[in-house]
Amino acid sequence: MQVEVNGNAMELPAGATIATLIEQLALAGKRLAVEVNEDIVPRSQHLEFTLSDGDRVEVVHAIGGG
C-alpha cells in the first residue's frame, strides 16, 4: 500500500503500523509526534495503530524557533 509521509509517497506492507513506519524511517526512540489524516495518534497507540492505503501521515519534532 502507499501512504504519504511528510508529503512524500512511501510504500509500506499491508497492515503496517505506525511503529513499523517509525522503525523503517530509522526514527525509533526519537522524540516525535505523529498525526494521521490530521488527527493525533498518541505514542501509546503506535504499536497497534494500523495504517491504511492513502493515509496522510505527519511526523514532527521540535526545532529551533522563537
Binding site: 509526534a33 505527519e58 511526523v59 519534532h61 521540535a62 526545532i63 529551533g64 524557533g65 522563537g66
Partner: protein
C-alpha cells in the same frame, strides 16, 4: 536636591510580584527562543548564559532519510531543566495553529503551555487578531494554557485575558526587526489593565530595548533574534539578563519625574562666591 521628600514613598511604589505563569513561579523574567543560532551548541550555551527558564521551540516535519543521528534540540534544551514553550510560528490560520499545538502537546508528553501566534502577512509578521481570538478560544476549551502573541491594542489584550489566556504578549516592533519598543504608550496601557503577566514578545534589538520594556512594568520579555543574531550571542545573552534585571529594578524603584528644565543637584545654600 531641592525636592520635597515624599510622605510615604513605599505606598506609591509598584509591588514586586514574582513572575507566575499558569501556576508556576519563575525567577527569570527573560524568555528566549532557540532559532537562528549557528548551531545547537551555541543555542544551548547562549540560553544557559541568559538565565532563561522558559524556552520557545518550533514544531516542524522531521527530515526523512537524512542523518538519523543528528542531535535533537530537546536533548540540548532538556524539558527536565527548562519549561519548553512550543510556538505556532509560521501559522496563518487558527486551524493550523490549533493543529500545531496539539502536535506539540503530544511531542512533550501532555505539556500544555503553548505560545500562540497566528500571523497575518509575511512582510510584517503582524498578528492576525481575528484568527488569534478564534484559536485562543478553541485551545483554552481544549485545556491548553495559552501565552498569546498579539497586537498592542489594549482592548484586544483585555479580551484575550478575559478569555483565559495565561499571559499577554504584545509585540514591541515586528518579529526579528530589532527596532526596539515602538509603542510604549500602548504597552503601558496593557500593563496597567492586566491581571495576568504581560510580556513584550518581538521587537527587542539590544539590551536597552529590554530595559525599556521592563521599566514600563512588563512582567518579562521574550526574545530570539536579538541574542541569536548578535555578533557574540553568548555575550549578548548575558547583556540581556542584566538588562532585564536593571529594568525591573528601575521599575520597582520608581523613576524620578521628568522635568522640562534643570534642577540643581548641589545646594545653593553655603555658596561662598
Amino acid at each position: 536636591m531641592t525636592d520635597k521628600p515624599t510622605d510615604t514613598p513605599e505606598l506609591q511604589l509598584p509591588k514586586d510580584r514574582p513572575l507566575e505563569i499558569a501556576g508556576r513561579v519563575y525567577q527569570s523574567r527573560l524568555l528566549v527562543g532557540t532559532g537562528k543560532y549557528r548551531d545547537m551548541m551555541e543555542a544551548g550555551h547562549a540560553i544557559e548564559t541568559s538565565g532563561a527558564e522558559i524556552v520557545t521551540v518550533a514544531v516542524r516535519r522531521t527530515n526523512l532519510g537524512q542523518n538519523p543521528d543528528e542531535p535533537n534540540l530537546l536533548d540540548v534544551i532538556s524539558p527536565k531543566r527548562y519549561t519548553i514553550l512550543p510556538n505556532t510560528a509560521g501559522c496563518y490560520s487558527a486551524k493550523d495553529a490549533v493543529r500545531t499545538c496539539k502536535l506539540a502537546r503530544e511531542l512533550l508528553d501532555g505539556h500544555d503551555l503553548v505560545k500562540l501566534e497566528v500571523l497575518g502577512e509575511e512582510k510584517t509578521l503582524y498578528p492576525n487578531m481575528t484568527e488569534t481570538l478564534v484559536a485562543a478560544e478553541e485551545l483554552i476549551k481544549d485545556g491548553f494554557k495559552v501565552m498569546v502573541y498579539c497586537s498592542d491594542d489594549p482592548l484586544l489584550a483585555k479580551r484575550l485575558e478575559d478569555m483565559g489566556c495565561v499571559a499577554i504578549m504584545p509585540l514591541g516592533a515586528p518579529i526579528g526587526s530589532g527596532l526596539g519598543i515602538q509603542n510604549r504608550y500602548n504597552i503601558r496601557l496593557i500593563v496597567e489593565n492586566a491581571n495576568v503577566p504581560v510580556l513584550v514578545d518581538a521587537g527587542v534589538g539590544t539590551a536597552s530595548d529590554a530595559t525599556i520594556a521592563m521599566e514600563l512594568g512588563c512582567d518579562g520579555v521574550l526574545m530570539n533574534t536579538a541574542i541569536a543574531q548578535a555578533k557574540d550571542p553568548i555575550k549578548m545573552a548575558n547583556a540581556m539578563r542584566l538588562a532585564i534585571e536593571a529594568g525591573r529594578e528601575a521599575y520597582l524603584a520608581g523613576r524620578m519625574p521628568k522635568k522640562l528644565y534643570a534642577s540643581a543637584s548641589s545646594p545653593i545654600d553655603g555658596t561662598f562666591f
